[in-house]
Symmetry: C3
Subunit: 257 residues, 3 copies
């Protein structure tokens, strides 16, 4: 799909809509024309777009932007921090109303910036799942809050059971918390242990840095679900998935031998 040359033995990518091989992109304030440009170049490679954290609150062109993505067949959702901003103010019903008002079909439930009982978080997932498709996020935005692997697994399992379509492993825009060390290095033991218990196609790994994308593609394959990809990095990521950038060039050649 949308490959210009007759190159042989390139890894296969499933067609959209797909359950694995997802690319989730972060829009943190694109203009309408920039959204059109993004769709022209990267729309075919993009599965879903997150309007990062609460940026949608201060973006003048919100309705028009959502309409543009919709007309290109790309679902959108508001970042989890927006959900948390409503929850901490006891405005959950207002949040449900704005989801309707903007015609949202997806919503994120997270607790990256607030403390919340996990049962209560799962209740929000259940409640919102009646209204939209829910994506929930595990992991704190606070670099000092580190969970043991068994806890990540327990939280992810409970959220999937509560009705999350996918669970996101937290990294922020910078890729320096959650499943990563402050340096951006992957907490490899954590990821390995999560994968012993949680089906890999149900997880979206936030991986904004190239080295993080490469690491996950080498571990799980071309069709790993990756998130927090910057708009201009979707084309580069697609080449890494296909073994057509230096970083995975050898890796996929050795696999197809």
């Amino acid at each position: 799909m949308h490959m210009n040359y007759p190159l042989l033995n390139v890894p296969e990518r499933p067609a959209k809509p797909r359950q694995s091989g997802l690319t989730m992109v972060m829009d943190k304030g694109l203009s309408l024309r920039q959204v059109e440009d993004f769709i022209e170049v990267a729309g075919v490679h993009t599965d879903i777009v997150k309007l990062g954290w609460a940026t949608s609150h201060v973006t003048p062109n919100l309705k028009e932007k959502l309409a543009l993505y919709k007309s290109a067949g790309i679902p959108t959702y508001f970042g989890g921090t927006l959900f948390e901003a409503f929850i901490i103010r006891n405005q959950f019903s207002d949040y449900q109303r704005i989801l309707d008002q903007y015609g949202m079909e997806y919503a994120e439930v997270s607790d990256g910036s607030i403390e919340i009982e996990h049962d209560l978080k799962c209740n929000y997932i259940k409640e919102l799942a009646k209204q939209v498709t829910v994506i929930s996020e595990v992991g704190s935005k606070d670099a000092a809050k580190i969970f043991a692997p068994y806890k990540w697994i327990k939280l992810m399992q409970a959220e999937l059971e509560a009705g999350s379509w996918k669970v996101i492993a937290e990294a922020r825009e910078g890729g320096n918390v959650g499943i990563y060390r402050g340096s951006g290095e992957v907490r490899e033991g954590l990821v390995d242990e999560i994968l012993t218990q949680i089906p890999e196609e149900t997880i979206i790994w936030e991986a904004p840095q190239k080295e993080q994308q490469v690491w996950f593609i080498k571990l799980i394959g071309s069709n790993v679900n990756l998130g927090n990809i910057a708009p201009a990095e979707v084309i580069p990521l697609e080449t890494i998935r296909l073994g057509l950038r230096g970083d995975t060039f050898d890796f996929f050649l050795n696999q197809t031998k």
Copy 2:
């Protein structure tokens, strides 16, 4: 203003034109269409745009670009390095002429790359203040030239007395000199000491890195004046000012309790 949801207890931002809470943006070579896109998304949150250092010298679309910003009600000025390039060549009167020729209403006076007697710098401020609104900058672009806090204060005071509307604390595009260490870390003692003597609303702190913005917002509040913000970072900065990004989420909640 331009907030899409009924979120309660969000810090207030004064309407433009304002004396504090300024966001100064650096344009280092946007096309006309990119300027239009920027204005669409971030114009309402932007107080003034600097055409970085001497980039305006080699930009083909200068007159049209200045007209675009003007029609959106956003003042512009040429970076201080351009002023210095004219001064070091003994072309001050040429500089005054180009300010007129391009209809500039603001100008920056700096000595980040040249050595100049401070009395002479203040004379340039006085002279240009007859023609335009002057912003002056304190601090060297040379990482090896570090001034003691009392000197920063003395220079800032003299420049404000000479007629500067605001003084800028130097950081460059990278945020790694002047009020910051090479690592980007704030020279906290320096900032604290400056604030004992200089009214905070008269200072614009260059703060290109997110951590620097967060630090100043936590110190001074939502309505601190910040500069050298990249065009695509104005929306993210606005959410940090409002406590709607992870970095200041707790901070403002605790304040409104």
Copy 3:
């Protein structure tokens, strides 16, 4: 050329087309409108555009994009990794066909991701030089593969003799391999030794980081050939070449004294 002010004693830049002072830009997935914006601002300062590695394979708008650059008089070529992807699959004749099919006038021959006998690489240069203007690249994308200076010289000499118009010194998009250490620092001894044997105007130094650009401009002058420049960094680079940014402000003033 395209300088807006009557600034005296600014270093001269030759007019395009030129053999030295080249700026080679990396396009890793621009939309058509972004290409138009780039040309508007930076076209006059850009000598040649590389469609990075194999990004052209997954870019939906390839033919239209190539036509846009062509109409602006800016030559283009596909990144060397695309050449290597065809070679490793024994599809060299397919590669020759796509060069024709897309009307390419330049091609890169590299071995950054594959192992190939140097005689064979030179044969590819000879063969392609019958069809297009060849640029060849020396240096591995693998940070662990470090060549001694005499080897760089030998490879460059052989490739120029085989018919390369220019040789590129490898750095990748990140600027952290080949002629640089992992930190981005220049391997100064290596560059010095290369320059004792290879004419500087035949080399394009990949230099994506500002500090790397500054280093080469101070070593070789305003009109050094630099590559892997990001589209938004062409205007900033041009000011560094002209001594109109802090980094080279003093350097060129001292030269013209």
